[in-house]
């Protein structure tokens, strides 16, 4: 519901404004920070043993060459059982394990030792309901001539479920991320649609027959929702009718030097994956 309204405001901006162009702007530069992309996603129907964590550094805004971080010590602990999963440094910024044991409702702690500083983060694994149907249509969405995908699932009965959706087409450089919660739809059968708007300026095509779309749907914790929701809102910049952008802080705390907090997030989720080919 909220996303509709946000999207609508973004659309008003587009509808009301004439002219956009790319300009040179001087921006400030923050200290470079550790970036943690620790997404332990347990795909339904798999063991979830294989997991990967990526460590990089942040860069000035207009530099997109990030540096991989090697030489860190990375581990994840199941808080309840005390079981520790060590991640092996692959010397390319990634750290992997093949022994992770996912457990619903369990809380895990990530620990990273890097450059003499210790970072920790915590998250809880939330379940995700099954996708009961995926179909395509044109009638819904912003444009009733373009194809949109529909994902159907039934929200859990108890209120407080949060979702992250990721849609990727191989030919696109950037994925689409969307969040949802059950504040207005608790317990209902939900029909979630995904559409790519026909954008004349940027050569992104709407969904066309033959397109392959990789879909992932995650059950996420509320604190991760709070994080990723703002991140998504601010992706691609904010217009005049959208909230003033803020520096979003993830859950990775630097216990040695709190001011030197890390970007990114440690999340543990249960996940549905699907691939759909547009007819």
């Amino acid at each position: 519901m909220k996303n509709y309204i946000k999207l609508l405001l973004a659309l008003f901006t587009v509808a009301l404004t004439g002219c956009e162009d790319v300009i040179d702007v001087d921006v400030q530069t923050d200290t470079l920070r550790l970036v943690v992309e620790a997404s332990l996603d347990w795909e339904k129907g798999t063991t979830g043993n294989e997991q990967l964590i990526t460590l990089r550094t942040s860069t000035p805004f207009f530099d997109t060459e990030s540096t991989n971080v090697t030489g860190a010590e990375v581990s994840v602990t199941n808080n309840a059982t005390g079981e520790v999963f060590l991640f092996t440094d692959q010397n390319n910024g990634t750290y992997t394990t093949s022994t992770f044991e996912p457990q619903l409702e369990a809380t895990y702690t990530l620990e990273i030792l890097y450059d003499g500083e210790r970072y920790i983060a915590e998250d809880t694994m939330n379940p995700v309901p099954d996708i009961t149907d995926i179909y395509q249509d044109t009638e819904d969405g912003f444009d009733d001539e373009t194809i949109e995908l529909h994902i159907v699932f039934t929200d859990f009965e108890e209120e407080g479920d949060n979702y992250l959706f990721k849609f990727e087409r191989p030919q696109d450089l950037l994925p689409t991320l969307e969040t949802g919660d059950d504040e207005f739809i608790n317990g209902n059968e939900v029909d979630w649609w995904y559409e790519i708007d026909d954008d004349e300026d940027e050569e992104i095509q709407p969904l066309l027959p033959g397109d392959v779309v990789n879909i992932s749907m995650h059950g996420i914790s509320r604190s991760y929702f709070n994080y990723i929701d703002i991140v998504i809102d601010q992706m691609g910049g904010v217009g005049i009718f959208e909230a003033t952008p803020v520096d979003v802080k993830g859950n990775c705390i630097n216990t040695t030097n709190p001011d030197n907090y890390a970007h990114g997030y440690f999340r543990v989720t249960q996940t549905n994956k699907a691939t759909y080919t547009v007819q």
């Binding site: 004439g18 162009d21 952008p245 802080k249 970007h263």
Partner: protein
């Protein structure tokens, strides 16, 4: 009537009046017998009463100006006088009077230009620096001046014109509202015929809701707000509609690119009354539909006013405004919003010294959103009923008293979701409706202390009760917002229960004394010094965390978790007229601070939010600045140069929530901070046929928050952002030009036509309304994208009247 302070005044209804009477009995008794002349001053052509016309006894310093209803009352010792009535742009009237008893004189003035075929243009009296009155920090704009200024797309706009004067800015092109002396948009009390207008914008702020054809006067109080107003800490914009021509049928109208207008006025009941009906409608939607477009936008306004003169001492006014905007984006999205107001007024003249007005006012703002594909509608509104009684007592030539009382009942309906089908996946939802009562009593004196020193001092007492009939959430440790030490972020508090307040109960009550005072010291015939102080309380707040207010923003009352905003403002000014009022200069400095200004925690979510307290922290704001205004009031060329140097900032400590606060508790720029703001506006009248206008504007860019780094996450480049409002958009500047052409017409022809050609932003400056940062979808590189709203915009409008 009071003679020698002894005769009894008949006042009813209000307890405050008895206090006034007590106060009056202590004022010094006049040494010799005095009498009073009173009456009304109006325009001979259309019968419109004139506000601000001066009535003087020649050769003395005894004089007054007419009030909003054209009424004046002047008291002087017994004797022979010559009464002089002046109003710039109108021919003077002189009248010999033998003041040996109380008398009533009504005067009708005629405009100079209709008498003589002069080319000379003179500014209205209201625009010349007022020297003797303590009134300061006030901007008046004559509606004729507004109509001559170049404007975007030819839509005459009072709010945009006011922004050409010192201390008034906007939040960028195409955004609604205005900002006064570094204040927020919701700190302006906007009144249209006394009714509160909650949203002043059409089409998200491209145009304003005021149809110039229906407007008589515009007055903006930037500070020194008189005690009769209350409820907003930054400014009061008092807009008055025309009464309607009481002499003959008249029509005015115009055809423009965006909209067309028509206003009709005529006498009623054998000239005992008159009416005005004015409408305006945009037609972009019709063109878009004709062009086969699914998207459409439109707005309309309807202004109504009628009045009836029961007898010399009693007059009734009924006025109303209805305006609405509608948007459709494809078939699936529709949205509409608008204001509706109505006001019934009764002017009663008790006697030649006591004028009164009773008003019953209704106003409502509502917003509607329909999303067909998701099968729901969203509605929200704010409604108020207001009763107000204002009196003015013209005690003597040295002492005048305003006093009165008001009560406003608010109903806030912050939002409701209504599923439109049974199968809708959206559940119905009703956010808690809120009710509140705001009352005020005031007394204000205008007191001539010596020949050179005049004071205005007053006191307002305001009270606000948040009424029950709703539950209030209680939080753990009484913290709706909690600082998370570990993550260094503010989070929503944990609800631990609810307290249900019954309908008769007050959830919370506030009361504030608001002293107001100003002084004018006349240095000589041409210059004066003024000083002012005002304290104002504001009990309702517009919730908005976006760069620009949107029509969806909802108003919230003060209560358990939100305190009233309290502001103190201090101002000093120097005023001077040159060359027999041909030029005038006004200079003011001000400082104001406001307590309990709320700001939003990082990541705040206001849409459909039932517990606003979990999204906000309480802080303070302060603003200070220097304002200069230099005007040329006479001659073929008239206009002004205005310059403002100012600072506006706020700070929001963590308080009860813990932590340092927003921006680590440091001061940060408000979005309305503009270091420099220069506006030049000029018009040149070549002859009866041709005249030219121009505007030149330069402003420091708006404070914004830019990225200070980026990192890769989920395959996307994510920006990290710097401190709140620590960057600025590029400077804003533009030049506008206009040409007015009045074709030859036969001397007796009734129809008077006029063409207005305009060019807005003549050198096509791409002023950034926003700069947004993101990834190029093809290359993946980060880039900054500027959104400019108006490039060069030519326009043509045809105006007529008969």
């Amino acid at each position: 009537m009071i003679k020698k302070g002894k005769r009894k005044v008949r006042l009813r209804w209000l307890s405050v009046t008895s206090i006034i009477i007590l106060l009056l009995s202590y004022t010094p008794v006049l040494a010799q017998e005095s009498y009073t002349i009173s009456g009304k001053i109006s325009d001979i052509e259309n019968g419109e009463t004139l506000f601000g016309a001066s009535v003087f006894l020649e050769g003395t310093t005894i004089g007054v100006v007419t009030n909003e209803y054209g009424f004046y009352s002047i008291t002087a010792p017994k004797g022979e006088y010559r009464l002089l009535i002046t109003y710039m742009g109108y021919a003077d009237i002189k009248q010999d009077v033998n003041l040996d008893r109380n008398q009533n004189f009504n005067f009708e003035l005629s405009e100079i230009s209709t008498q003589l075929d002069e080319v000379e243009v003179t500014a209205e009296e209201s625009e010349i620096a007022v020297l003797r009155k303590p009134e300061m920090s006030v901007l008046k704009m004559n509606i004729e001046t507004v109509k001559q200024m170049p404007v975007v797309l030819g839509e005459v706009d009072i709010l945009k014109s006011l922004q050409m004067l010192p201390g008034v800015t906007n939040n960028g092109e195409g955004t609604g509202g205005f900002h006064v002396r570094g204040g927020a948009g919701d700190q302006n009390l906007v009144l249209l015929d006394e009714a509160i207008i909650y949203n002043t914008s059409h089409m998200f702020g491209f145009f304003s809701v005021f149809n110039a054809d229906a407007i008589k006067d515009v007055k903006l109080y930037k500070g020194g707000i008189p005690a009769r107003y209350g409820g907003r800490v930054s400014s009061v914009l008092d807009v008055r509609q025309k009464d309607g021509n009481s002499k003959r049928f008249a029509a005015t109208g115009g055809i423009g690119i965006i909209s067309s207008r028509l206003a009709l006025e005529a006498p009623l009941f054998k000239e005992k009354g008159s009416f005005l009906i004015a409408g305006r409608r945009s037609y972009a939607d019709l063109l878009l539909k004709a062009a086969g477009q699914d998207n459409s936008v439109s707005f309309y306004d309807l202004n109504l006013k009628t009045n009836y003169k029961i007898n010399t001492n009693n007059r009734l006014f009924l006025s109303g405004y209805f305006g609405r905007d509608a948007f459709e984006l494809g078939e699936n999205f529709s949205s509409s919003y608008g204001n509706s107001t109505a006001n019934l007024r009764w002017n009663h003249i008790f006697n030649e010294k006591l004028f009164s007005n009773l008003s019953l006012i209704y106003s409502k703002y509502d917003y509607e959103l329909g999303i067909t594909s998701a099968e729901f509608n969203w509605v929200s509104s704010i409604t108020n009923y207001n009763i107000k009684y204002d009196l003015k007592y013209y005690f003597s030539d040295k002492f005048k008293l305003d006093f009165g009382a008001s009560g406003i009942h608010y109903e806030f309906d912050p939002g409701e979701i209504i599923p439109t089908t049974e199968t809708s996946s959206v559940n119905p939802l009703l956010l808690d409706k809120k009710k509140a009562l705001e009352t005020g009593v005031y007394v204000n004196a205008e007191h001539k202390l010596t020949e050179k020193l005049t004071a205005q001092y007053g006191l307002r007492y305001s009270a606000f009760s948040r009424l029950g009939g709703q539950p209030m959430t209680e939080y753990e440790n009484d913290q709706p917002v909690v600082y998370n030490e570990d993550l260094g972020i503010y989070e929503r508090g944990t609800a631990i229960g609810e307290t249900v307040y019954e309908k008769g109960d007050a959830i919370k009550t506030f009361g504030n004394l608001e002293p107001r005072a100003s002084l004018a010291y006349t240095l000589n015939d041409n210059s004066s010094l003024k000083a002012g102080f005002s304290r104002v309380a504001q009990y309702i707040h517009l919730l908005t965390n976006t760069s620009s207010a949107t029509p969806l923003d909802v108003w919230a009352p003060s209560g358990q978790y939100i305190n009233p905003q309290l502001s103190n403002q201090y101002a000093l000014g120097y005023f001077r007229n040159f060359k027999n009022k041909a030029y005038s200069m006004e200079a003011e400095i001000y400082f104001k601070n406001t307590d309990n200004r709320i700001d939003y925690i990082d990541g705040s979510d206001l849409i459909g939010q039932n517990t606003i307290e979990t999204e906000i922290l309480k802080g303070e704001s302060r603003a200070y600045g220097l304002e200069l205004l230099f005007r040329k009031n006479e001659g073929k060329f008239t206009g002004w140069i205005s310059y403002t140097l100012s600072k506006s900032e706020q700070r929001t400590p963590g308080g009860n929530a813990g932590g340092l606060g927003i921006n680590d508790g440091n001061w940060y720029n408000t979005p309305y901070d503009r270091t420099h703001d220069v506006s030049i506006s000029g018009s040149y009248k070549l002859n009866e046929k041709w005249s030219f206008g121009t505007n030149l504007v330069f402003q420091t860019g708006r404070p914004v928050t830019y990225p200070n780094g980026q990192y890769e996450y989920e395959g996307v480049s994510i920006a990290s952002y710097s401190d709140r409002n620590s960057d600025r958009l590029p400077a804003y500047h533009r030049l506008d030009l206009s040409v007015n052409y009045k074709p030859n017409r036969k001397p007796n022809a009734k129809l008077k036509g006029e063409w207005v050609l305009g060019i807005y932003n003549a050198y096509n400056r791409k002023n950034a309304a926003s700069v947004s940062f993101g990834q190029n979808v093809e290359t993946g590189a980060n880039e900054a994208t500027r959104t400019a709203i108006f490039g060069i915009v030519p326009s043509i409008t045809y105006n007529f009247k008969f």
